[in-house]
């Protein structure tokens, strides 16, 4: 196990900048999100509470050109965007976001490969940082991992005072660390200190949900219209809780024509199941009512995604709670699911 002094991290970042665009948590734009490192600001080494906009924006941008097209005399010519996007290194991302990326990898790999998303994933190195100051509404520990979990990153840093303990998790991680100077062997004391830091961070996660109970009750309360109407009553159907959610990946596809009509492009941009127009068809809209859309958001993450990919589509990062303008809290909803009638239970048993 290696470690690196905090003052040497800048050198490491500069080394990486030669090969990658290095993204770090930054509030320069006015909102805390991953942004290209300006070469000086290192405040994220001292204080790295999770960003407002999740790192998913580096793989599924808010707006992405899928292909351009031109009208030639012989007909249309398609110009796919570069299949090999610029290499990027995300520094300082939290385990909940890294895990979220692995979760949505599944849907973009499933059956048809999504080249746009996956090519960016291949060209990315994830350098995680153990989360030492979870928010009061974080609940990652209830989802089977912790704020210092290193499984979904290439390199994991843990703050042990004047330096970071450095775990090389994947070969890609080892690769980019090759030739890095200032890496010294970590002592037993360092590893013990890192363990303590990780334990205390885990203990600091105060909000809890019981996923076993939730997956038992959800199938029974899907038709409980009264419950879902009450839960959805205060929601104003904006897009914050889905756009800022690291495991939300829904997108819309739309075309644009150049003003002179000589060509144009097809784009993909973020979409959201809270919007009524999301499922609107000329004749009808299956999820016109607000309570259906709020129910869909909960069920997609805690019932449908587990059914499709075997993992809950949520990592407990708490952004949807922190950023919601009406303080809709998913943990309160999940912790207050009604029992669901026994009759419904055995009826479910019969059919599935």
């Amino acid at each position: 196990m290696k470690k690196i002094k905090k003052q040497n991290v800048a050198g490491l970042l500069e080394k990486w900048q030669k090969e990658f665009t290095v993204f770090v948590p930054s509030k320069a734009s006015g909102v805390l999100q991953m942004a290209a490192w300006d070469g000086e600001n290192l405040s994220f080494l001292e204080r790295n509470r999770n960003t407002a906009i999740p790192p998913k924006a580096n793989f599924l941008p808010t707006m992405q050109k899928m292909f351009g097209f031109r009208k030639e005399e012989g007909g249309y010519v398609l110009e796919p965007t570069d299949e090999d996007p610029p290499k990027q290194l995300l520094f300082g991302i939290h385990p909940c976001d890294a895990r979220a990326i692995s979760i949505i990898d599944m849907v973009f790999k499933d059956a048809y490969e999504d080249k746009y998303y996956l090519s960016r994933r291949q060209n990315t190195v994830l350098v995680g940082m153990a989360c030492t100051s979870p928010y009061d509404n974080c609940f990652c520990t209830s989802l089977g991992f912790g704020p210092a979990d290193a499984t979904d990153v290439d390199i994991m840093l843990t703050d042990i005072g004047d330096s970071f303990l450095l775990e090389q998790v994947t070969d890609k991680g080892k690769g980019v660390l090759a030739g890095a100077k200032d890496l010294v062997e970590a002592t037993q004391a360092d590893e013990k200190k890192a363990k303590e830091v990780k334990e205390s961070a885990k203990a600091a996660v105060s909000t809890k949900i019981d996923t076993k109970e939730i997956s038992k009750r959800l199938p029974l309360v899907f038709d409980d219209k009264k419950f879902w109407e009450e839960i959805a009553a205060k929601c104003v159907s904006c897009g914050i809780c889905t756009f800022l959610c690291p495991t939300c990946y829904c997108f819309d596809i739309s075309d644009e024509m150049l003003r002179d009509g000589s060509g144009g492009a097809r784009y993909r941009n973020w979409d959201c199941c809270s919007f009524a127009v999301y499922t609107k068809m000329p004749a009808e809209n299956p999820r016109e009512e607000k309570w259906r859309r709020v129910r869909q958001k909960v069920y997609h993450k805690y019932a449908f995604y587990p059914e499709l990919f075997g993992v809950i589509g949520c990592t407990g990062c708490g952004r949807c709670i922190r950023q919601c303008p009406v303080n809709w809290d998913i943990t309160q909803t999940l912790n207050s699911l009604p029992e669901g009638t026994a009759a419904k239970a055995e009826e479910k048993q019969k059919t599935s």
Binding site: I53, N137, K234, V236, G239, N269, W270, F275, P325, Q332
Partner: protein, 320 residues
Amino acid sequence: MTEDLEQKLRDEVRTLLEKGKIEHVIGYGEGSLKFATTPIMISDQADVDRLVINPFIHNNLSVLLPEVSGKVAVVAKVCDARSIISLVQNKQVARENVFIIGVPCNGIVDVAKVEKLTGLDRDEIDAVTWKDDRLVVTFAGGSKEFSAPEVALDSCLDCDCSGFKEFDLVIGEITPVAANKELSRVRIKEMEAMTPAQRWEFWKNEFSRCIRCYACRQICPVCFCERCFVEETEPLWVSPLPRWQDNLIFQAVRMMHVAGRCTDCGECQRACPVNIPLGLLTGKMEDIVDELFDYRAGMDKDAAPLMAAYEPEEAEDLMR
């Protein structure tokens, strides 16, 4: 002081429900976020004790009003109550179906400003309390004090509670928190001092951050079109893609559509997850409407909406 206000509110609501004068109540309940409350809807008396009044009653509850049918009581600050009257003026809500319960703003605080001033997130702050006209913010390792104007919501700075006569019931005494018209217009004046190119550059940068979550439209009580112009594709007025040009056009047109209905309640700025200072737009729009037509939204329920009325002689100097 707030405890007896809360108790008074609960008792009043309980009697209103008992006497059947109202069927539902939209009020503030305990929030799960620190220093926040959350909108709650109550129909039976058992839940009345969930109603609270504290310095964090930020939401403008009138946005939920059109969705509730029947006789509804709404707990409202002055700017919220003006939004209700604006909805009445625009025939979205029938005045006799709404029972407006005025509550004092009770030292309401802009938590985002406190976070910025202290450099801490709200869950790192232990307590926020008023000591006469100073706000004391205590956190691990000390405390800081701020004056009211420093931590008041932008919309509170230009608060003008006088002259509003549409409360059906008032709990306690309605007084502005930190009304300071001058201070509220400082940044707007700075904007006006810039050249057009500088102003455009400022908004270009702000709107390049916008992610089109539409929280500004969805949280706005007077943005009540069934189908927003931004959702139209035939013709396409503005692209759904979050390019700064289209974000700017969307917000500019939205602001002009709500001119005369917007009461500058500050909700769009508070809801924006990427911190775009929309208050600079709503504040200026309120001034334009006031200066050109001497009109203030939501003050008089019988007044015609701004765009549904006219004077034979007005604004001719702006015409060619």
